[in-house]
Symmetry: C2
Subunit: 326 residues, 2 copies
Amino acid sequence: MVNGLVREKILALLRNGNYVSGEELSKKLNISRTAIWKHIKALERKGYKIEGKPNLGYRLVEKPDLLFPHEIKAGLKTKKFGCKIFHFKEVTSTQEIAKKLAIQGYEEGTIVVAEKQTQGRGRVGREWFSPFGGVWLSIILKPKIPPQHAQKITLLVAVAIAKTIRKMYNLDAKIKWPNDVLIGNRKVCGILVEASGEADRVNYMVVGVGVNINFDFRKVQPKLAETAISISQALGKKVSRVEFVQNFLVEMEKAYNIFEAGGFNQILDEWKKLSSILGCKVKIVSYKETFVGEAIDVDEDGFLLVKLEDGLIRRVVAGDVYVRKV
Amino acid sequence: MVNGLVREKILALLRNGNYVSGEELSKKLNISRTAIWKHIKALERKGYKIEGKPNLGYRLVEKPDLLFPHEIKAGLKTKKFGCKIFHFKEVTSTQEIAKKLAIQGYEEGTIVVAEKQTQGRGRVGREWFSPFGGVWLSIILKPKIPPQHAQKITLLVAVAIAKTIRKMYNLDAKIKWPNDVLIGNRKVCGILVEASGEADRVNYMVVGVGVNINFDFRKVQPKLAETAISISQALGKKVSRVEFVQNFLVEMEKAYNIFEAGGFNQILDEWKKLSSILGCKVKIVSYKETFVGEAIDVDEDGFLLVKLEDGLIRRVVAGDVYVRKV
């Protein structure tokens, strides 16, 4: 048995927080007590706090705030999402890795997660600040849809993120079209959906989410502090990133199953209820043009409908939305 | 100087077919005559036939029929297409390699070419027979277009391929919508265009072409002989694959520059003149449905317009087209 597997088994046996004797661990894993002790030391070096007491044995006191695949998988309540997890301490971009894995044929639901990204990217190639303490995660999807329906997936992911935040932390997360999730007008999550395919079908999509969790913009990136916020800032305390990932994957799988069964309208209804901009006066800045109007709806393809002052309705495929103060 | 570079310089000096003395080569490259001799032997192992005569020196008699980058680059009349060439003796699929290179940031015009593919693919994941003797080539493009315009690129590539075949071999190459080039109803080339991007912009495209050149379907793959043909079969003789690639890259660059300058209509006009199906009764088989009608036109997005029997006009995004015998 390779070291990693032995350690995961030790952690599984310690997971309930009770003392487990070295003898019991040694028997169950069929290795010597000295070997057990060495593995315990190795786990401690990875950030696990394990108490060892004579006559009582070992007890797991604290887990590190790291997104180890075995931690995410422990108790993960999904069938497909997270079936395969690639974890990196530091990476250029999880999106880049996931795209390469998709090309290599990795299956739907495969995820790539990193503690830190050095070249995190948002929409249209923009930089995305990705320090230690966030959730930088990409998912491979292979929906049977034509490329022009890819936008629907962006909406679906936004719903899954907003619902996860609402359920877990009771925070009033809202969605800003097309790809941000906000807490009180500040960005808590950005979504990047990239599709690759032929004229009439998507071969694969890679969904990237960047969620600001356990860091404080005011300390680590003050210039973003006015427009961005983290979960820990909003709550006043740190949370478990592993649990966030687990809950998000469940919401994603739920929403995706509904989508695959032809229920996009249900997702769209949820999206509309969570929208921060419908009914607002907005300024739209796309790569072609800038104009103002009222965000009146999102259509069944996921595109924003904006009513101009002259009453005409414009369909916006992508762009930046600024809510105008009135 | 690395061996590859020395050998390319020797080939460049021998390229005009005259004798060049060992002494001259030795002086120009600043290496010993023994070293020159060793490099000549290495070139012979790669398939170059080089004659060595006392007092006269070395003379290039024959080049191997291989797509070495230095052969393609020698005299290549493009600015961008072929700027960077990756060459493989055998590869799973040039398309797969090119997609990975595109993700890594390789520039527009980078090409991947292979002597043989073990997992060549056509549209919708179909197998593409790719033995030694063909041109299996993928090009990275980064057009500033929304994903729904990607189909235009398929048409553009078809025009470039058909024109190359017509100009070089005086063969009556025709285009069958969406992605085949035919000689007398048999497939001489297939085109696979894959786009990767966000809702409103393509990040990169990879254009794959598979051109049947110097092999005979009747000998190497009889089951395809009724529907596919090679250039050498059509001409009754082998041709230079290197020259084919050089000429195709020139046609591609020309057409792409016109496209980038907003001249897609010009490409579309050429396409229509080269079309094998406009005006024909056709059966369309897409992943959703099958129907028959008359192929009356291709619209400005590159989609096929088919007039049904009841007079209605259907816009076909992708599918298989079968010309019906009437």
